[in-house]
Structures are given as C-alpha cells and as structure tokens.
C-alpha cells in the first residue's frame, strides 16, 4: 500500500504539465529550440608524425597555433582511441524576423568552443543577412561541420592554408539570390580580421570575403555547381593576404525507385598570396574527391590532395585517401579511411575508423 502511494505521488509529481497551466508556472517547453548532438568516435593509427602546422605560421604573442588534430577538427595526433569531437547544436526561429543557430563544439574531451552562433533574417525577399560567428562562405569544404565532412579529415588545402579551425570568425554577411535563369547566389561577408590568417597587429583591420555560387540542373537527376571565392585582409605584418578559390561539383542520383546509387565528383582549388613585408609568398593546392554509393547503406570514396603549388614536385605534400562507409541509418555511420601521405620525401600512412552518430532534432544538411 505504501509502495502504491509512493508510486501515485511520483506519478502526480511527474505530470504537472497536464494539471497545471504554464500561464501560472511560466515553465512551458513549447518553444524550446531543437537540440541535437553529434558525436564522432575514432580509432586511429599513424605510421609516423605528420606535419600539422599551417603553411603560414602565425603565432601571436600569447596565442597558440591552431593545429589540425589537437584543437582543430581533423584526425587525432597519435595512435589510439579518441573522441574526435562532440558538437551540440541549438536551432530555433527567434521571432517573426530571425532564425538562430548555435553550435558548441568540444574537440576531443576537453575544452569548449563556440563553433557557430548565427542570427539570420528570414523574411526579406531575395536576400538573407546574417551575423554572429560563422564559417566563411569560402568554397565548399570550409562551410562544413566536422560531422558532415565527406572524409574523416579536412582536405590539405583547408587544413594547412585556412587552418585547423577553418575560416571561422565573427562577422556579418549577406547572401543574395541573383535574378538569372539558373541558381546563382552571391555572398558578401566582412569579418573582424582577428583569426589565424588575418591577424593584423593594427586591431582596426577587417577581412572581406566574396563567394559566387552557381548551380545548374544538368537533367532531373544531376547537377553541376561552379563557385568562385575570394577573401582578403591584413596579416600579422600589416600587409595584404589574399586567398582565391574555385570549386566544381557534379552530383548524380539514380532516378530508379529503390535503386540507391549516387555519384559525386568534387574539386576545389585554393591559392593564397601572402605579403610578409619582404616578399610575396604564394602557396596553393587542390583536392579532387569522388563519392559513390553502391548500396543502400554502402559508400566508397576516394580523394587526391596536393598542397604546395606552384612549388616543384619534390616539395609538394601529396595525399591519397580511400574510404568505405557503412551508413547504418540517417543517424549513424561507421566509416573506415586510409591515407597515404607523401610529405618531405617520406611516406606516412594513416588508418582510422570512425563512428558518427546524431542524437535529437538535427537540421537537414544542405545539398
């Protein structure tokens, strides 16, 4: 009897929403944001230490260089088991005018960073304005969160030219749909100019970015995307750093019902020109990647990375990657990746297996 009483008491206490109005309690959860968590768990092997430093060293006094694996969003730094990253995301419509997205990332098991916090307009015709901290609209890969990377790591050009954190900063942006017969979008963004690449000692210098994205339907099942990006700002020598980018993506999905075949071919090129006060250093590179879905849950992918153009061949860093994914559902995937790195005349191998899970109400990923 006592147990029954306790049970009823607990039941009564656990269902206040049904018996009490939130008008009186003020504790309604009806407008809580959609919350999701992405977890990336990694088993990792490397045959030797890899170069992780960004091409343009920019150690500021009192600031650490952001390395790709350590605090960035790439693979781990040493062989073993790792939590690659946990991302917590809150998404909500703010009111009749704004939408908000907040992403809090924990790379590894320690340290918390505000990866993105954006407020975007929703009710303006043809244009979206946004502000906050966000990934700069530079090319294709820079816009992705770690859990949405096509491979477990970033392309070399992103990791080593834009830095382990990517081009991500506090800024404002506008995204305009252009009045032409194909999908054509112009993005203009201004950043605070206080990141790894644009970090002028003069605190007043801003960084600027432009991106033109175009997409055509080749037919009902295939699209071709062509984009151009340009960003510039003052570097640590209070001189100009300019980065140019171009990207090309072809996507196809089988129109046959229950025929799970998808093919993606994507290439991206980045060239940075950095004036260090004495000289202009130019470093560039590209990647080409292919993704093929061969079964409902099976994907095979390959990537070829080059960093160090226009240097002579011997001085370039080159990487071949192969990936096999078992996409168990929309909310989990098991992915195995092999990298062969050719770096400073050495061959370094990496092997990684990743379990990628999504919990909760995660917004759909862009096309």
């Amino acid at each position: 009897m006592k147990i029954l009483f306790c049970f009823l008491l607990v039941l009564w206490a656990a269902t206040p929403a049904r018996s009490q109005s939130s008008t009186a309690t003020g504790t309604s959860s009806a407008f809580n944001p959609a919350i999701s968590v992405n977890g990336l768990f990694l088993g990792y092997y490397q045959s030797d230490l890899l170069m992780r430093e960004p091409v343009f060293g920019h150690e500021h006094e009192g600031e650490e260089i952001e390395l790709a694996g350590e605090h960035g969003h790439g693979l781990a730094d040493e062989t073993g088991l790792h939590v690659q990253e946990v991302e917590v995301r809150f998404t909500s419509i703010v009111d009749a005018y704004f939408k908000a997205d907040m992403v809090i990332a924990i790379p590894g098991t320690e340290g918390v960073e505000l990866e993105e916090a954006t407020i975007a307009t929703t009710h303006l015709p043809n244009i979206i304005f946004k502000t906050g901290k966000f990934y700069g609209d530079f090319g294709k890969h820079n816009l992705l969160h770690t859990h949405a990377f096509p491979f477990l790591d970033s392309p070399l050009i992103n990791e080593r030219i834009l830095g382990g954190e990517g081009l991500n900063e506090v800024g404002v942006g506008a995204s305009l749909l252009l009045p032409v017969s194909w999908y054509s979008e112009w993005n203009g963004q201004v950043f605070n100019g206080d990141n790894a690449l644009f970090n002028s000692a003069n605190g007043n210098d801003l960084a600027y970015l432009g991106h033109w994205k175009n997409l055509w339907d080749v037919n009902d099942d295939a699209t071709l995307e062509l984009g151009g990006s340009y960003t510039f700002g003052k570097n640590e020598h209070t001189k100009m750093t300019q980065i140019f980018g171009g990207d090309l993506t072809f996507k196809w999905r089988s129109p046959k019902p229950a025929h799970y075949r998808t093919f993606v071919l994507q290439a991206e090129y980045i060239q940075a020109r950095v004036n260090d006060g004495l000289d202009i250093e130019s470093v560039g590179g590209f990647y080409v990647l292919m993704q093929y879905q061969f079964a409902r849950r099976g994907w095979f992918q390959a990537r070829y990375d080059v960093l160090g153009l226009p240097k002579i061949e011997a001085e370039r860093d080159i990487r071949f990657s192969g990936l096999l994914a078992l996409v168990t559902s929309e909310f989990s995937a098991l992915r195995l990746q092999y990298n062969l790195n050719r770096e400073g005349g050495r061959n370094i191998q990496q092997l990684a297996v990743q379990l990628n899970v999504t919990l909760g109400a995660h917004p759909a990923h862009a096309y």
């Binding site: 303006l124 999908y183 229950a258 862009a366 096309y367």
Partner: protein, 301 residues
Amino acid sequence: MEKIMKLVMVAILVFGAWDVEATVRVVTTTPDLAAIVRDIGGDFVVVKSIARGNQDPHYVQAKPSFMRTMNQADLLIYTGLELEVGWLPLLIQGARNPKIRPGALGHLDASVGIKRLEIPDGKLDRSMGDVHPEGNPHYMLDPRNGLIVGQTIADKLSQIDPENAEGYQKNLALFQKKLQAKIEMWEARLRGLQGKQIVTYHKLWEYLTDWLHLKIVSQVENKPGIPPSPRHVAELVVRMKANDIILLLSSDYSAPKPAERVAQQAGAKLIVLPASVGGREGIETYADLFEVIVSQLASGL
C-alpha cells in the same frame, strides 16, 4: 535608353521561368497536390511539383534549383505530418521568399482538416525506425481525403486571389462531384475485399486500407524505413501461411526484391501499386491514380 529597356526585358524573361500569364504561381511538394491544384486552379494558376511521381517523397534532395523555383512562388503547398521534414525547411530558407514562409498567406499545410491515422502513443525513439510523431503522412492515398484537400486548396486560392474565388469554388464543386461519384464506383468494385487480411511492404497503405476496410496484419519492413531482418521475414512467412494471408501490397518506390521473396515463400499474390500521380505513364490526375490502384486491387479479388 532603348538598349537598357531591351536588357531589362531580357532579364525579366530569363528570370521569369514561370508563366507570367497566370495569376497565382503555386509550388507543391508532391505531384498529388499539384494534380489537385491543377483541377481546382484551372487557368488561374500555374503549378510545379518538387518531387516526381516515381520518387519517394521522404528522400528528395534539397537542390538549390528548387529554391529558385520557390523564390518566385505565391503559394507553397505541402503534405505535412513531417513527410518533407528532411528537405523542405532547407528549401524554404534558401528560397528567400517571405510570401511562402510559415505563417504567411502563401504557406499551406495540406494536412489541416485530415483525420490522421497512427498518431504514436507514448514515447518515441529512433530504434523504432522512421516513425512520424504527428501521424502517418500518406493520407493522400485515401481518395476521400482528396475531397478535403481539394476544399483546403480552393479556400486558400480564393484567399490569395479573391478576384477568381468564384472560379475556384466552381472548379472545386466539379472536382468533388466527379471524385465522389468515382469513389462510390470504386467502393462498389472492391466490396469483395472488405475484411480481408493483408500484408504491406511499408507503412504506406494505412489510409487506403482504412477506406477499403482491409486489415493490415503486418509489414515486411518491421520498422519503417529500415530494411527487414531475415528473422522477421521468416516469421512473417510462417504467419502469413498460418493465417491464409494471400495478398501483399507494395509500391513502385519500395525495393522490389524483399516483397517478391516474401510473396513467393508465403504463396501470396504481390500487387505493386503506384503511390503517386506521375508515378507511371498515364497517371496525370488524382482520379487516374485511383483508377490504376483500384484496377490492380480488383485483380487480387
């Protein structure tokens, strides 16, 4: 000046991928909704569907080209009940068109007024597969719901384009009268199926079987959207044989092999139905869809 005018004209022509003659530009997520809009809107509207008839509407890709189409629309109509949740929010955001955003006049969830089936009771988790928390979204597969959706669409078009409201209501009356007559005819034709126990491949046919008083005993996909386990298939075959279940329904956009295997092993007849307007050649109107479905089901009698 003349040159500038010419350029402006060219820009307008290039920009206007839509028929400029029509009063209301409508985008629907599925071809079923587009077909009803065509019947009710007549010459007053021009309509485009995002999904194609042979496509599973759960898994449409949010191509930016659709954003462009939606950028120019006066009205967006979608199925709702989270059917399009994987792609429609991206398209609405990317379209940059305040006229069709949630809460705007040109934003219509076609499921208002529908009596929903299978609203989950109790706590949901994703081990249950693709369960829709707001209920089964495949309500367009009961033609009686077509009558309700027709009304919803006619009312919305009348609101957006009051000048032609009379025309919309006239078209609606005709649409409902014709469809109602056909529904009665189809019901009479399939009366022999009433009370029969069947198995379906996916949780797609609940509204259809509710209409026809068929009883769904089980699905080949034991969890929605997840390929069936061999154990479940084996158990299902035993169950079908034991209960003398001889009809298995599947759709054009479901994987054919598992359903074929079950039907063969259980000695049941497999009927593969079109699930949407445009899913097969010749299915151009909402009524056409049921003509084909009813004929195929009649073959299972």
